[in-house]
Subunit: 365 residues, 4 copies
């Protein structure tokens, strides 16, 4: 497959989610990042593009949409990784230019902005994608398959939670600042993480609640957006549920979870143990499903190699690249010949000892 | 930093560890893969290189080493991802050519081969790296830092385990075949996973056992290599330890773990819960350390975003690339405009209900 | 301390909670069970008393209250272990007779019955106790002490859950029957387990919610009482909370839990891991508190000996009593001389092998 | 069943294991404790007996054996709860007197003492029981049943561990003192906890290792007994195993565990999670077995009510007895009428709110 030519709006150096999108686009080699409007500050946009080795840098996304659409080798898709209130304008511009849009969540900061995107999508030849990344994890996809297969019977109870503690104090720092500004974020915890919990429950159950009853709070005095939301859900099917999101739940780093109870079985998934699914049939013991039981084929390593496996390898490669370029700061943590020879000495000693019925032998070097 | 020009020996299409190395090299954008001798079968080598978009393909590694060394824009480093018995020859060739070597573990299949690599490394201007990937995980690096800082006091007890169950029956399949062939693998579980456990303990403790007593078994009748090894360890410091590796431990997918007990504290790490470290001071409660406590800065996401986070994002990007290229098989699992609009409807309904003191409201669409 | 003379109302043979109360009263040797009105069926009451070796059996609790109050060696306290609607009448009778009442929860089936008990208690010289047993577990008592000490700072969020699955189908059996009968139970899940969750949160936090918003359901068609309740809580302090109880949460055996988040730390306790408390300070790693950190001294074994430890011992004693009485059915599971001699042979062999630097030795017998 | 008349040797006030045996004997009401030689110090023996309400107290066990055997209502069984070196003499005396012996483990401090017990048992009409209590836990009994049923296939690998940390420093206190005295204990960790691990593995697998290779250590300088033992095991069946016991594993309170791997499935049990068994079939997901799957009927509460449940109840009963006797120190932690009325107010408020479709209502009092 020929790699997709990709552009990016937002995500200048130091940005959190932009860097994540770039790693994701690189991981399977399916994209080449060819253009960017990485910052609303032209100088910063240029510097970031240069640093990242992106060939074409633009001062603003409108110019980028026009110029790229005009090129025969222009970008085919664009990633929008700006704050919520800056999703709609570029999304509309690129959709109008016939360029596919990959947009970070939530859709927008206001219903109006959302409507603009919807209108542009309706009349565009290009497609619109929203990166609700948690629903793309292998065991979440397997959870959805289990529900669809009827393994749970009729769904009765749903509990989705997304608990964080990082905004337990008055916010500080760039990430916190725009997320607690109503103009830029639209909503607080509700938009930032509530939409993840909402989509996760929706994706896995295949159902959308018909009614809800909500209690939004700003637990930190003076905070202009919600930082805790407790929401009761009623489904048309008769199922009932709850959704609890918080950014003042101290000690919780990223406590996203989903619990489902049906007439025949229960299913539980937690982000902090993301490669496991607990399936409990009504009349039997709980089962711990792993990727060995997953059918979505959404992983790159055999069961038991946790997804961090790839990052461990990448850490070595990145340290090695630094060493090759002359930065030896971390060379002591990269295994080399000594580690290899020690491993060989270990094998030889173990074989020698075992051949002598477990005699103690010197390891040698 | 200018990306490092990389070559690869082994790792043709369908290979397991070659694909892992390529993802790792891509993840941080520090490498470009420019040359390969991906298979000992020239036709397969060519086809794999074409499929992977690698510019220069060679029929054999010797030719590759010579040719690349001769180019001004030749590769600067090579990844060797062949079976164990095929590490030494290419490693020697590239080291002699002055090209850095990144070699999969274990070092070699025989002591002789290991000695050849050692000799070549000694006289080369290039460096040799061995990808003991587990020791590059953030919490393993933090474990090492804690030991080095003296948090455990004097080390007394070490227990390293690496348990797998996939070879519990007579081996089948490509991966199993060469791993149970003494000529190609050198040793069985001992070499394949024992060296990982050995290096992990060594890396974290900073000590290498002076003596060992081993009991190697072939639990599967007729298997020509060890598939279970129980090894007692004695350190010069007076510490004692155990190392247990098995490939017949049914139900264990990849049970790598390390437990350390010192005079002041204990430390435990398990691959299946790889982002946590349990530190238990002698007189206090156990502490669950996460990346929030890690000081190695070896990760790409904030604490609580498990390392699979990146893969979830990558799964979306890869599905989206397929959709853009016309393969719609998985389009129903990629969130799009509907998910975005539903999220907006959720936010609006929650705000409306909360404003009405929790009245039940319709979600709308 | 002289043991307390105890009576019991309800709890005839085959009863669940009556047997539990008797074990509890026996465990520390602080009570002697001397009288009972174990059933409303006089014949069954007599037979049960005889079987249990209770000296004085009564046909009804009124007669028992009168007679026992009249004796100089009459009971000092009575345990009431009847269904909810049968708490008030005996409680009133014994309180009026000046006999202490130990009553199973909930207090009563109706507000009227509760008021009768309250009135009787107000005018009695005797005391009234309610067996909310979960709040008497060591780590729950420690949780309460931590909150009282201000370790959590100001309380912000409370989540109490009590999830069971045993009534997921239309109820069958004696336990289920009266619990789903509005006349006898008063409420469904709300009374049976909801009051436990309510009292647990109250006991640990030291606060009672001022307002609540509830959604009660009968998920099993035709069930006349609630089997699922989702309740939002508001405290006068500004804290907010949730309480979720269910008896249709399939696969949940007895999922009682409490999670608290304050301005300085979070605290989590789960019945299924009842001897551990997770305390997470805002800026530090989570700590796993055990009985080694508990200050309530509410346990009989050293830390690490789980509470089941006592039951393991009791299982042996009870099997041994059966053997002594001639019932040999389970003699093969009771360790005896052979186990002892095997242990001695093990010790000797281990000492011999170690003295010979780990030589393999025969274990002997 | 008529309760068994029981005597006790050792276990004076303040003793650890004697108190445990008494609770165990009381729990199911199958014993009455009628005689004791609770201490080798006659005054202490008398005082302890009085304190515990034991009718007949003896100055020494020989006198007790003679006198009790001579009574028609003498004890039928005796519990021996003295240090290891004081097991043999009383065991022999009571066996000769025809009184059943319930002896704490290990059998004795020396092989000679063990032989004396064996000889006495061989010629006695009475039986000898050894309280390896862990093997009497419900899930351990179920583990044994699963192995016996062939669920694991042929056993290949066994790993038993018993790790404690309480002797990591030079020993202090009564419990530590005799356990580290070779004359009284016979062996160190090996005898104290090693025999538990040995018997546990033996009980569950139904096999006894034929050969072993041991490495005993005294990690604490100057300690005259072993405090760490690493032992390799070989079974006649071809299975191999390991047994690791330590009393210097800091942070481990009571880490007893057993892991078994067969040709068809693996089984894991840990004391710290004693009511769960992890069964992993070779080709399926791991299953979490609980008492709902247990067939030994060795428990007193329904599944999900952890065994500590009984102790929670007992804590209330014991606090209540103290209150009745005038000690009000802990009355604030015993739920009473207020808790009951609060629970009723909760039920009423929840029903009212739910009837009004979740309106916020005041809880009332």
């Amino acid at each position: 497959m020929r790699p997709v030519r990709l552009g990016m709006v937002g995500g200048g150096s130091g940005a959190f989610i932009g860097a994540i999108h770039r790693i994701a686009a690189r991981m399977d080699g399916k994209y080449v990042l060819e253009a960017g409007a990485l910052s609303s500050d032209p100088a910063r946009a240029q510097a970031s593009a240069a640093e990242l080795g992106i060939p074409r840098s633009y001062d603003d996304f409108s110019a980028m949409a026009r110029a790229e659409a005009a090129r025969t080798d222009g970008i085919e898709a664009v990633a929008i990784v700006t704050p919520n209130h800056m999703h709609a304008a570029p999304a509309v511009a690129f959709l109008k230019a016939g360029i596919h849009v990959i947009c970070d969540k939530p859709l927008a900061a206001t219903p109006d902005q959302a409507a603009q995107i919807a209108e542009a999508a309706r009349t565009s030849t290009a497609r619109f994608f929203l990166t609700h990344n948690y629903s793309a994890l292998p065991m979440v996809r397997e959870a959805r398959a289990l529900v669809a297969d009827g393994v749970l019977g009729e769904l009765r109870l749903v509990q989705a939670e997304y608990l964080q503690g990082w905004l337990a104090d008055p916010a500080e720092g760039k990430q916190a600042e725009w997320r607690t500004d109503p103009a830029r974020a639209g909503a607080g915890a509700l938009g930032d993480i509530g939409t993840h919990a909402w989509q996760l429950a929706q994706f896995v159950t295949g159902q959308t609640p018909a009614h809800l009853s909500a209690d939004l709070s700003s637990m930190v005095p003076g905070r202009p957006v919600d930082d805790n939301a407790r929401i009761a859900l009623r489904y048309a099917s008769g199922a009932k549920g709850g959704l609890w999101v918080s950014q003042v739940a101290v000690g919780q780093e990223n406590g996203l979870s989903l619990r489902l109870f049906g007439t025949k079985a229960a299913l539980e998934w937690r982000l902090q143990d993301s490669e496991r699914l607990i399936l409990t049939p009504k009349d039997g013991p709980a089962q711990l499903l792993t990727r060995a039981q997953d059918r979505s084929a959404s992983f790159r390593t055999p069961p038991g190699h946790p997804e961090g496996y790839l990052e461990g390898f990448a850490n070595l490669y990145t340290d090695i690249a630094a060493i090759i370029r002359g930065d030896l700061a971390h060379q002591d943590r990269v295994p080399g010949l000594d580690a290899g020879l020690s491993g060989m000495a270990f094998i030889a000693a173990a074989q020698r000892s075992s051949a002598e019925n477990g005699a103690w032998v010197e390891v040698g070097s």
